[in-house]
Amino acid sequence: MIKVENLSRQYGTLWAVKDLSFEIADGQVYGLLGPNGAGKSTTVKIMVGMLAATTGEITINGLNIKTDGNAIKANLGFVPESCALYENLTGREHLEMVCNLHHLPVEGIEPQANKLIELLDLKDAADKRIAGYSKGMKQKLLLAGGIIHNPRVLILDEPLSGLDANAQSLFRELIKEFARDNRIVIFCSHVLEVVERICDQLLIIDRGKKLTEGTPQQIMENQSATTLGEAFSRLTGATDIDDQARGILRAIERGNGDNG
């Protein structure tokens, strides 16, 4: 179980996250949604230990991120939004690196890495430098690195970007399998159709604050919306997207009047 209490993070005078609280039960796929700059990535980065919280507490399975960071990380897998990897390593070497940083038994590293390389269709590229990988291949490698140590909690920040349709299906099924195995998956994405399909529970935030929480169905009902996209637009204040689009077109036409 994950418990986040009054989490806040300040950058100078700006609060990226303010008083955020939520709980995630075992076996749940928990969706973290919000417009750009809402504070999703900051929340996730605090949860995985990349940033420190200004105030607030995070406990994962009874352990506190501040005091038991490494014990939590041993059971936590993270797939970051950016494809930041040491590109001079090969894919296989990256996986070996992750295993070593997780202190996995040396003799188990190679077979484990080989298995994942094969299952994720990275066999042909495994011994090539990551510098030559496509975005999708890097994303697959990041996923392999995120799960190679068999974590109980998996945090995915925009994991589907750059993946082809087959790989996206594989990722979705994998997330469901994780939850069926009573593990926790935190899923950040802007692709609301996917979120609606795979998440059990959703948290929508904006400007660092909680807007709403519940199942996709509950959120849609509460907003009297037929789709999650509609509910999301209402909650985040983007109520009349059509008007906004027309307004943008009018503005650029007026601004470039002499060209037109």
């Binding site: 990349m50 690196m97 030559g132």
Partner: protein, 553 residues
């Protein structure tokens, strides 16, 4: 993007491009929400480079006063300036030159070639001017005072600026030509080798220039003819101030004209080579080359000596960092060259320490050593800068964002820091000590004395490495590299330990070990210091690292 060479320069676009370039320079690697992230001691890297150059210009002014000849003095000053400007532009500020990445950014916008060229040249001119002011202002003033002619100041400064601009443009054009002809990765490698050679020139220059200048000035007094110097580019510009002092020869006139012509030629060559059309060609060439080189597979086979050595170390953090350092060394040219720089430095310092018949002092035979003038501490200086250069070079990387992995895994960050220090000690410092041991055996005439002395040096080295980790613990490849940072940071990390080693070795050369008890005491004290520092590392480094967050882009 059509060729638009005939179109006029768009002043608004020029201003925008220039402003964007300068802002990018100033803000590179600033955090997402926060303000500017400063370099070492809070000084911006370019300011650091300029400060170092200002110090050099004071040294060059000494050459002017001793030359007794306007041309000869100007020649030396301008030659040094041209080398420094070209090397700095090429190695530290290569982004000022045309890059294949320029095209994808600008291609969708209606920027014409002339505007693009003007922005590139102005951007470079700003940096060249800053460097020329730092390097040439003091020598120009000193020239005017020495020869009691006010007009020599602006003329000398103009010559400095023109020489610097010509050098920068020449190397910029050369660089873009090479990018077109060769592979980009290879080009970076060649640039690295050039940097390697330039290290000899820069550091060797410090050591050889005073001797060379002294010899040339002596020859000049004896009436030796230096006309051939007019054939060299610094001579073309050094001829300008001579017009103000009279006694003009035809060679000087031709040389001065050659200076002007070279500037015009560089400008026109630049128009075609620093154009957006050329950027497009570069981008296409580089994309083809990259797709070829990146699809090569690494050879997997039986574990080599390095991997077997790795397996000896039980800590997984060591395995991770050592492997990463090895791979970065193999493929990251910037890192490789910053580390390899220690070779010319070491050789030059050893040469300095042993030139003019000096010998290495045997600390077990003080009377003989002192009698022979054996206080050549320069030989020991490498001991101080080898760990600094390797450890410091390993902290900065273009792939610094990949360091997220250290924060999200249960890796021991103190061990990660210490792993890079151990790498520096085992693969760089110990081989140097072996080399020193061979050298000492030759000079001391006793292998036992050499080994015993090297044992002491080994402990001194451990103290230095531990101190570096304690003062500035850095997770390897986790910090962004800013232009000019390398020069500035290297100077600091080199000079502080160098002063400590210099003082220590000077004392040792005069006092010696004073027998077995003295030697034993020194070794015992050094071991105690190493143990104390290890204890402090375990207590203090985790505390300091706990406060460090992942650096966002």
């Amino acid at each position: 993007m059509a060729t638009m060479a005939k179109e006029p320069i768009d002043k608004r676009q020029l201003k925008t491009l220039l402003k964007a370039s300068l802002k990018t320079d100033m803000r590179s690697s600033s955090s997402r929400f926060g303000g500017e992230r400063k370099s070492l001691l809070g000084i911006p890297p370019i300011a650091f480079v300029l400060l170092i150059y200002l110090g050099m210009s004071a040294m060059l002014s000494g050459v002017v006063t001793r030359a007794n000849d306007v041309f000869l003095g100007a020649f030396f000053v301008l030659a040094m300036q041209m080398v420094f400007v070209a090397v700095t532009i090429l190695l530290e500020f290569s982004h000022l030159i045309l890059s294949p990445d320029d095209f994808p950014i600008l291609a969708p916008h209606p920027v014409n070639s002339r505007t693009f060229f003007a922005a590139k040249v102005l951007h470079m001119a700003i940096y060249v001017t800053m460097m020329v002011v730092a390097l040439g202002l003091i020598p120009a003033v000193v020239t005017a005072i020495t020869y009691k002619q006010v007009l020599l100041f602006p003329t000398m400064f103009l010559a400095s600026w023109s020489a610097g601009t010509a050098a920068a443009l020449f190397f910029a054009i050369f660089y873009t030509l090479m990018l077109r002809v060769g592979n980009r990765e290879k080009m970076h490698r060649y640039l690295g080798y050039l940097q390697f050679l330039m290290t000899f020139v820069i550091y060797g220059g410090y050591m050889f220039l005073p001797d060379l200048a002294k010899n040339m000035f002596a020859l000049s007094k004896s009436g030796f003819d230096f006309t051939y110097l007019y054939l060299l580019p610094p001579g073309w510009f050094a001829a300008w101030p001579v017009f103000l002092t009279g006694g003009i020869s035809p060679a000087q006139v031709w040389a001065a004209i050659a200076g002007l012509v070279s500037l015009v030629v560089m400008y026109f060559l630049g128009i075609s080579r620093l154009s957006i059309d050329y950027a497009q060609t570069l981008n296409e060439t580089v994309e083809q080359q990259q797709s070829k080189s990146e699809s090569k597979s690494e050879v997997r086979g039986r574990p080599g000596m390095f991997n077997r050595l790795l397996q000896l170390f039980s800590a997984p953090e060591d395995r991770v960092i050592w492997k990463l350092m090895r791979k970065q060394f193999k493929y990251d040219n910037r890192y490789k060259m910053s580390v390899l720089m220690i070779i010319p430095l070491t050789l030059l310092y050893v040469y300095m320490g042993l030139k003019d018949g000096q010998v290495l002092a045997d600390p077990f035979n003080v009377a003989l050593a002192v009698a022979k003038g054996g206080s050549n501490f320069t030989v020991y200086m490498a001991l101080a800068f080898i760990p600094s250069i390797v450890i410091f070079g390993s902290a900065y990387s273009a792939s610094y964002q990949a360091a997220w992995i250290y924060y999200t895994t249960p890796a021991d960050r103190t061990r990660l820091v210490l792993a890079s220090n151990r790498f520096a000690t085992i693969f760089f410092c110990i081989p140097y000590l072996v080399f020193m041991c061979a050298l000492m055996t030759y000079f001391f005439g006793s292998i036992l004395h050499a080994i015993l002395h090297c044992v002491v040096l080994f402990f001194v080295l451990l103290v230095l490495v531990d101190l570096i980790a304690l003062i500035a613990p850095r997770i390897p490849f986790s910090l962004p590299m800013k232009s000019g940072q390398r020069t500035g940071a290297m100077m600091i990390t080199m000079f502080i330990p160098m002063i400590a080693v210099m003082v220590g070795m000077r004392i040792l050369a005069r006092t010696g070990y004073g027998g077995v008890i003295g030697y034993g005491t020194i070794v015992f004290v050094l071991i105690l210091i190493v143990l104390l520092l290890s204890h402090l590392q375990r207590r203090l480094i985790p505390r300091r690292l706990a406060k460090i967050e992942f650096l966002e882009s």
